[in-house]
C-alpha cells in the first residue's frame, strides 16, 4: 500500500513528458493522456483515502534515506480527503476546458501549453498534500506556482500579463518568506521534517516557536488569501480563462488552508495564535462579502466571495477543537467543489450572455433553463440553505464555536451568520439580475457580435440630458452589428467569443461538479464521520509521528 503514496505526484509528472513530446502533432492523443492520467489519479486517491482510513497514515521515504535527510511523503486521512476532492475537481475542470478548447479555435488558445502546465499544476497540488517535510512542501508550492504562472498568463494578452504580474510578484515574495521561515526552522530545530519537528519544537524557547509559527502562518495566509493579505486575489484571478480561474479558486487557496491545518495541529499544538486567527477570519468574512456585494462583474464577485468564505475555514482552525477541525475539513471539501462549480458556471454564462457584467445580463432563466438550474443549485449550496452541504459545514463550525463559548467564538459565530446571510443576498442578486428579470435592451442576441473595435458615434441614439445625439451615457442602445449573423470578431487582436450554444462537454463537466457538490449532502453522514476521524487523528499527532519515525 505504501507504494501508492507517491503516485498522485509521479503519474501527472510522467504524463507531462509524454504530453510535451506529442503535444503539437497529436492533439487528440494529448487530450487522451490528460484525461486518462487524471482519472487514474482520482481512482488512486480514492483507494488511498480508504486505505489510510482503515490502517492509519502511510509513509514513504524516497531512496530509503532516514527522515532528516531524505524526502518523506506521508498520506493520512486529511491528505487522503484533500487528494480525492482535488483530483475529482481537476478532472471535471479538464473535461470542461476540453469542451471549450474544441469549440473555440484551438490555435488561439494554446492547448499545446495548456495540457502540460495543467498536469504539472495537479502534480504540484498533490505534492503539497502528501509532503512530509517543509522543504518538500516548498518544492510542491513552487511546482504549483510555476505552472499557475503559465496558466494565468495563457496567450499572453495585455490584461493577463498585467494581472499576472501582480500574482507572480506576490507569489515570489511569499516563496521568499517561506524559504526564510524554513531557514529559521532548520537553524532552531536542526530538521525540516514534520514528524521530527513535532518532537523537537516543544523543547525550544517560546519566543522562537512563536516566531516560526507566525512566519509560516503569514506565508500560508498569503497563499490562502486571508483578509489583510488577500488584495492580490480579486485583481489577478478574473482575467484568466474560465477553467483556469475555476481550478485556481477551488484549489490553490485551499492548499494554503491545508498547510495551516497541518502546521497548527502537528507542529504547534496548543493554539497560541488562536485569537489572532479568529480576528483575521472575522475580517476576511466581512470584508470579503462586502466586496462581493459591491461588485457587478460575475468573476470578480465570486473572487470576493472566495476571500469571504476562506474566513470560515480559518475560524475553524482558530478554534482548534476537534469539532472545529472536523467542521473546517468538511468545509474545505465543500468549498473546493462549490467554488469551482460557480466559476465554471460563470464561464458558461459568459458564453451564453456574452459578458460577465451583471448589469448587461438578463432573462437567462427563460432562454437557458439548464444553465439556470446549474447556477441555482451550487449558489444555494454556497449560501448554506439547509439540506445542502454548505449548511452542514457552517453548522459544524458554528456548533464548535458555541461549544467553545469564549467571547471571540461568539463574535465569530455572529459574524459567520451575517456573512452567510449576505452571501444569500449576493446569490439572490445574481439570480435576479442574470436569470430572473427580462432582458435589458443592451442584451446581445443569440449569435451576434459582442464587441467590435468600432469607435464611432454613428447610430448612437442616446441624446443625454441636453438633447444632443451622442452626448448621453453609452451602452444603452444595442451594439451596431450585422443583424443576427454569427461573426467571429476581434478586439485589439483578441478573439471575441460569440454567443453560441455551449459545447456538451462544458455543460456535462459543470453538471458533474454540481452533482459532486450534491453528493456531499447525500453522503453527509459518512463524510462528517470521516472528517471527525481525520480531526481526531490530527489532534492526536502520535499516529503521524510514529508512522514516519518508526515505532
Amino acid at each position: 500500500m505504501n507504494a501508492l503514496v507517491p503516485l498522485p505526484v509521479l503519474l501527472p509528472l510522467c504524463a507531462t513528458g509524454l504530453s510535451l513530446a506529442f503535444g503539437t502533432r497529436l492533439a487528440r492523443f494529448q487530450r487522451f493522456i490528460s484525461v486518462a492520467v487524471l482519472s487514474a489519479v482520482l481512482c488512486l486517491s480514492v483507494i488511498l483515502m480508504i486505505a489510510v482510513d482503515r490502517q492509519g497514515p502511510l509513509s514513504v521515504h524516497l531512496g530509503d534515506f532516514a527522515p532528516p535527510l531524505g524526502i518523506t511523503l506521508v498520506a493520512d486521512r486529511l491528505s487522503g480527503l484533500m487528494l480525492t476532492v482535488s483530483s475529482a475537481v481537476t478532472l471535471s475542470v479538464l473535461v470542461y476546458s476540453l469542451g471549450q478548447g474544441m469549440a473555440d479555435r484551438d490555435k488561439e488558445t494554446p492547448v499545446a501549453v495548456f495540457h502540460p502546465a495543467y498536469l504539472i499544476l495537479v502534480a504540484g497540488v498533490s505534492l503539497t498534500f502528501i509532503a512530509g517535510d517543509l522543504v518538500n512542501l516548498y518544492v510542491g508550492f513552487e511546482i504549483m506556482l510555476v505552472a499557475s504562472f503559465v496558466l494565468l498568463t495563457l496567450g499572453g494578452t495585455g490584461p493577463r500579463i498585467r494581472s499576472g504580474s501582480t500574482y507572480v510578484i506576490i507569489s515570489l515574495f511569499s516563496s521568499m518568506l517561506f524559504l526564510t521561515a524554513i531557514a529559521m526552522t532548520y537553524a532552531a530545530a536542526g530538521t525540516a521534517n514534520f514528524a521530527q519537528l513535532a518532537v523537537r519544537l516543544p523543547d525550544l524557547p517560546l519566543g522562537v516557536q512563536t516566531l516560526v509559527q507566525a512566519m509560516l502562518l503569514t506565508v500560508f495566509a498569503i497563499k490562502a488569501a486571508v483578509f489583510p493579505l488577500a488584495a492580490w486575489l480579486p485583481d489577478s484571478y478574473p482575467t484568466a480563462p474560465a477553467p483556469v480561474t475555476a481550478v485556481f479558486a477551488g484549489l490553490l487557496t485551499k492548499v494554503g488552508i491545508y498547510c495551516m491545518l497541518r502546521i497548527e495541529t502537528l507542529l504547534f499544538p496548543g493554539n497560541r495564535l488562536g485569537d489572532l486567527l479568529m480576528a483575521v477570519a472575522l475580517a476576511s468574512m466581512i470584508v470579503g462579502i462586502l466586496g462581493a456585494v459591491a461588485q457587478t462583474d460575475l468573476k470578480r464577485l465570486f473572487s470576493f466571495t472566495l476571500i469571504s468564505h476562506i474566513g470560515y475555514m480559518v475560524f475553524g482552525i482558530g478554534l482548534a477543537t476537534r469539532e472545529a477541525y472536523g467542521g473546517a475539513i468538511f468545509y474545505v471539501a465543500h468549498h473546493i467543489t462549490v467554488q469551482t462549480t460557480l466559476f465554471l458556471v460563470a464561464g458558461l454564462i459568459e458564453r451564453r450572455g456574452g459578458t460577465n457584467e451583471l448589469t448587461r445580463l438578463g432573462g437567462l432563466a427563460r432562454s437557458a433553463p439548464l444553465l439556470a438550474v446549474l447556477f441555482f443549485l451550487p449558489a444555494m449550496n454556497f449560501a448554506g440553505i439547509p439540506p445542502l452541504s454548505g449548511f452542514i459545514g457552517k453548522l459544524g463550525l458554528m456548533r464548535a464555536g458555541v461549544a467553545d463559548g469564549s467571547v471571540w467564538a461568539w463574535i465569530l459565530v455572529a459574524g459567520a451568520t451575517v456573512t452567510s446571510l449576505l452571501t444569500l443576498y449576493v446569490m439572490a442578486k445574481i439570480w435576479n439580475l442574470a436569470f430572473w428579470r427580462t432582458e435589458p435592451p443592451g442584451q446581445t442576441a443569440y449569435g451576434t457580435v459582442l464587441e467590435t473595435a468600432d469607435d464611432s458615434d454613428s447610430g448612437d441614439a442616446d441624446t443625454g440630458p441636453d438633447r444632443i445625439p451622442g452626448t448621453g451615457d453609452e451602452g444603452v442602445g444595442p451594439a451596431p452589428a450585422p443583424a443576427g449573423r454569427p461573426v467571429a470578431a476581434t478586439l485589439q487582436g483578441q478573439a471575441v467569443t460569440t454567443t453560441i450554444r455551449p459545447p456538451a462537454a462544458m455543460t456535462a463537466a459543470t453538471a458533474g461538479a454540481v452533482v459532486l457538490g450534491l453528493a456531499f449532502t447525500l453522503l453527509a453522514g459518512p463524510l462528517t464521520a470521516y472528517t471527525d476521524r481525520a480531526a481526531a487523528e490530527l489532534m492526536e499527532r502520535r499516529p503521524y509521528v510514529e508512522e514516519v519515525l518508526g515505532r
Binding site: V146, F149, T180, Y186, R300, E357, T471, G472
Partner: protein, 197 residues
C-alpha cells in the same frame, strides 16, 4: 550554534537591496530585486549550518567535522527554482514591453477605473455647467460641446479597450448595485444620470 557574521551581514544587505528593488514599478527592477533577495535568503539558509567545516564527503573526512549538507541541498533547490521564476519573469517583462511599450506594473484595475471615472464625470459636470450658463447657444458652441463630450467618452473607451472583457458599469450607482429593469432604462433617459453617478 555559532554563526558567521559576515555571511549574515551580506545576507541582510542583499535582502534589503532586493526588497527596495522589488518595491519599484518596472518589472525588470523587480526581477533584479527578486534575484538579489533570493541570493540573500540562500545565504541565510546556508548560515543555518552553523560554523563552517570540512566538505561533506562520505570517505576520508571524520563525520564530526563536516558541514551540515542539508542546508546546502536546500539552497541548491532554491537556486534552481529561482532560475525558473527568473526566466518566467524575464519573458513576462519582455511581453509586457511588447504590448504596452513599457514594462511597468500597472495599477489595480478597480483603483484605476474608479479614479478615471471620477475624473471624467467631474470634467463632464463642469463642462455641462459651463454650457448651460452661456446665454445664447450658437451652433458653434453646440459643436464644441459635443466634441468635448466625445473626447471624454473616448477616454473611458480607451480604458475599456485596455481591460479586455472587464466592462464598465453603467455609472448609476443605484442600478449597478441593485440592477435595473428595462423600464428603468426607459424612464432614466430623462434625468441626469451622469451627475447623479
Amino acid at each position: 550554534m555559532t554563526m558567521s557574521l559576515s555571511l549574515l551581514a551580506t545576507a541582510v544587505v542583499l535582502c534589503a537591496v532586493g526588497g527596495i528593488l522589488m518595491l519599484s514599478r518596472p518589472l525588470t527592477r523587480i526581477l533584479l530585486g527578486a534575484v538579489i533577495a533570493g541570493n540573500g535568503i540562500n545565504l541565510l539558509v546556508l548560515s543555518s549550518t552553523g560554523s563552517a567545516g570540512a566538505a561533506p564527503l562520505l570517505y576520508g573526512v571524520p563525520l564530526r567535522r563536516i558541514t551540515d549538507p542539508l542546508p546546502q541541498a536546500i539552497a541548491l533547490t532554491a537556486i534552481v527554482i529561482t532560475l525558473a521564476t527568473t526566466a518566467f519573469l524575464l519573458a513576462m517583462a519582455y511581453r509586457s514591453y511588447q504590448l504596452t511599450g513599457t514594462d511597468e506594473v500597472h495599477d489595480d484595475l478597480e483603483d484605476r477605473r474608479i479614479f478615471l471615472r471620477a475624473e471624467v464625470l467631474g470634467e463632464r459636470a463642469e463642462l455641462r455647467e459651463e454650457y448651460r450658463a452661456e446665454p445664447g447657444r450658437s451652433r458653434k458652441d453646440r459643436a464644441r460641446y459635443r466634441q468635448e463630450h466625445r473626447r471624454l467618452r473616448a477616454r473611458l473607451r480607451a480604458d475599456r479597450a485596455l481591460q479586455a472583457r472587464g466592462r464598465d458599469a453603467g455609472g448609476d450607482l443605484w442600478h449597478d448595485v441593485l440592477g435595473a429593469d428595462p423600464e428603468d432604462y426607459v424612464n432614466d433617459k430623462d434625468d441626469d444620470r451622469g451627475a447623479a453617478g
